[in-house]
Amino acid sequence: MAKITVDGKVFEVDPNNNLLQELLSHKQDLPYFCWHPSMGSVGSCRQCAVIEYANDDDQRGRQVMACMTSPREGARYSMDKAHQFRAQAIESIMTSHPHDCPVCEEGGECHLQDMTVMSGHTYRRYDGKKSTHNNQNLGPFIGHEMNRCITCYRCVRYYKDYAGGTDFSVQASHNHTYFGRFQDGSLESEFSGNLAEVCPTGVFTDKVFSKVYSRKWDLQSSPSVCAACGVGCNINPGERYGTLRRVVNRFNDEVNGYFLCDKGRFGTGYVNSAQRISVNMSRSAHDARPSEITPVDAKAKLLAMKGNAIGIGSPRASLEANYALRALVGKDNFYAGVSDVEFGLLNQVIDIYQNRPVHIASIKDIEKCDAILVLGEDVTNTAARIALALRQSVKNIGKEMAARIKLPMWQDAAIRTLAMDKKSPLYILSSHATRLDDIARQVHIGSAADSARIAFAVAHVLDSSAPAVTGLSDAEMALVNSIATDLKAAKHPLVVSGTSSLEPALLNAAANIATALGNGDQRGNLALCVPEANSLGLMLLMDGSQNSLGKAMQSGARQAIVLENDLYRRAPSATVDSFLSGLQQLAVLDHLQHRTGEAANLVLASGTFAETTGTFVNYEGRAQHFYATFKPVAAIQSSAKWLCDSEFGNEPRIHILTGGAAAILPNGYKLQKLTPGADWTFAGQRAPRQHHRYSGRTVMRAHLNVHEPKQEQDEDGLMNYSMEGVPATKDATIFNSPWAPGWNSNQSLFKFQKSAGGELKQGSHGERLFDENTGAKAWYAAVVQQAAISGFAQFPIYHLFGSEELTAQSEAIQAKATGAYVALNPADVARLGLGASDGVQVQHNGAVPYLARASITPGTVGISVGLHGLNYQNMTTAGVSLNKAANWQNPKDWRASNIIVSDAGSSSAYGRGTQG
């Protein structure tokens, strides 16, 4: 640590950091634009100017940019003396700014507004003509208003350098500089939504939010967790007039940091969907007409099933809801609502995490890793935020090179120039080309079983006590050796795999490699992706019980309660049909209409993540608490509350259910650390969900009744559905959204962090339920089951936009999604005699369009999962026969242009041809 003096005040700073970051860490108000905690410094905006004095006698000093300066021990600086320069700099930045704050989506949370006020530029003196720019249509997610640009270069540094996008750049020169695509078109990166947060002004804005726009101060928000995949990114949803308006990133240094994927950000439209179940319905028999019933009757009917019904839990419902169901029906009657294959895989994940000496890698850990093996998981589509982290980890070679020549780590441009195109090794074993191939050292295309055999061999090379594999070709052995060499040479090697390839051997192989990489106290990093927000939470609640969905369907039960689940996505359609027809009473609790719900006698409207409070357990076993953002209409209640009987006092506060679940989970006592306690108050009050500038309180419901109702009460405690309570100040334990005096934008976050860009001062970053295993090395046998295949060998293909059940119902996601299809090698396309507009009849399933992809091995077929038109669960045999469909016409929802493939030399007309 070094001591410096700034305007007479003495600060202790880290000399390895830049001066700007250190001053921000001390909560000083120093303006900046181009610096970003995740992206380092480039010194392009000239806003963070300070005066540096050579010694104590120096009265003049010299002007330096704080973000490009390493603090010197004992040095003297002044922020005040450079104030005038900063005002002038911003005055020239603003000469062409278009005078449209009132019609700008960024207004009120604009970093440019804040910095202009802070630097003291208040009156416009320039009366020359302003330069203007035409906008581009950047697709359904991001709006473009180039006139507002201040050329800080953050967007292009984020999109190209950080997120690895290829279809966005800086163009032209001087005051004509332009940031955009080569031509109009949808942004291809899966992380484009972050542009809206990265841009310090309103050039890139959230287009989905703009349609239902509200100012930041009018949004009721709460800390929440994304329900769209197993990563568990932290989000801040915002509500106004009873509908969910937008989702922005909520910082968690160990999980998502500053960035979200587009599915999480834009995929919450289903909360406001017309398909929402907003009334409770009941009917006496399957064919009777359903009639609306009151919440009280609905609950009575549901609880009447106690003792006779089995319960089917859900991987997308909260821990509390699953626990309440388990408590209602009893442990023996509680079944996991996941497909049987997934049931086995998830149990395997838990077994690996609990019993193997591996380090479960958080996203923060992943970003530190310097050699990576991705095993059969298309992370960009199944756990997108991890893909973004992997893109950072391959840059670690540059940081290593920089450290060797003593270049500070914040020197972003210098490190990039130094590294050029060198990347840390990343190997991908996959059944098809993936979106990460561009950063991979080597990609091996083969079936999941092939990948597993190669992976077992890698483990054996790394540690000869691991089981060996025979029968690999020379080319495969060469790959095995280079993977093993690179992993062994790395300081932080990482294996990424997951359940999505549906291959148990892959998980075992991944565990073997991670185990083999262990060395004394150092354990190999392992990240196993799981499909849904609470997949692991549900499986941990099973507590070793082997009650899979298949068993539930064979149990002969006459009554069933299905929690937030469409069984047709979990099992073959025929099996579900026969199960449902054998039931006398079926109760379904869910948010959206689906086939299982249509068969139910009792449908209960349950709240989504935005309307309920609960806990999710993510892919690394990290339990995270989310708070309801707003109160839904009276008929909708949280599943947890529906399922509670008198045992819990009928309407228990949520922490009672969390406590119940904690008694079952490993290290469950940690759950109570997730919140500051159910009866927490600050200065005698709860935390507000509404901003202190929240407007319209006395009029928003006045058209219905001029007499204002009592404020909504949150019986779960901690947060108010109002402005009452201690607002989002630096000391609040729970805060609705970051705000600090003078800092209205999300850049105010540093005021809440221990050091700028670091851990939050308050709040929880989740609790990891799995202990670090320090046991001896143990191995899974290198057994790969391979059934004889007739026809094409199928493998699943996932889509970030469309494969997940709920987000697929969001309008914005639908604009980027497509209907179901199969992907084939061009040779197979020719063999099947398919013309350009033909369809393929899939055995046990419907007819769908096809996509020719060169990366797919001949004889195999990629089958889309979750997209409308196919049920992957119907693929029960080891092979599938394909035929040309008769009288085929492509369905309306088939939008091949939305499928971005990265196959080299693909015969497909789609993909990267749009760059102009």
């Binding site: 449209d100 009120g108 726009y213 006395t698 001029v706």
Partner: protein, 182 residues
């Protein structure tokens, strides 16, 4: 003693003067007016009933920026932004609860487009409180109100129907991003 007598005489004198003044008022014109048969003159900047005005082209001035709502000390303004097919912002609904309004005029001061204006009309009593909730249709007038010339979109850089990029006041035509020439 003398002082005391002087004071008493002064008081008597003062009361006689007052009586005389009151007496002379019998012959003067009355200050009160026969409202409502006779309407008083209200000054143009009186802060009375709130209206929404239109710009000189006859389009709605309000761009739904929400600044009036946030400035309102009693939180009695609520609105929702929407936009037309050419990107012009306007309020989908605009509601004021006049039973809460304190006629402070902060909304008018906050308005960046001169859309919301307070008028000299003060006759806003209602028998039913619900009738004091006014919607946009009730407030939107067909003229420019007090500010005749201001047209926000003629100055702002955002393109709307009938005004493209570079066509606002003091703007250069859009740049050619494929050129590197100065």
């Amino acid at each position: 003693m003398i002082n005391f007598l002087c004071k008493q005489l002064y008081i008597i004198w003062s009361q006689l003067v007052t009586l005389w003044l009151v007496f002379t008022h019998i012959f003067k014109k009355a200050d009160t007016v026969e409202y409502p048969d006779q309407m008083p003159y209200m000054f143009p900047r009186w802060r009375g009933r709130i209206i929404l005005s239109r710009d000189p082209d006859g389009e709605e001035r309000c761009v739904a920026c929400n600044l009036c709502a946030v400035a309102c000390p009693v939180d009695c303004i609520a609105l929702q932004k929407t936009e037309d097919e050419n990107g012009r912002w306007y309020p989908e609904f605009f509601r004021i609860n006049f039973s809460r309004c304190i006629m402070c005029g902060f909304c008018e001061e906050a308005c960046p487009t001169h859309a919301i204006q307070l008028t000299p009309d003060f006759e806003m009593a209602e028998y039913v409180r619900q009738d004091m909730v006014w919607e946009k249709e009730d407030m939107l007038i067909s003229g420019t109100g007090k500010y005749h010339d201001y047209n926000f979109y003629k100055i702002a850089g955002k393109a709307i129907g009938g005004k493209g990029k570079g066509e606002a006041r003091n703007e250069l035509p859009p740049i050619d991003r494929r050129s590197l020439l100065p």
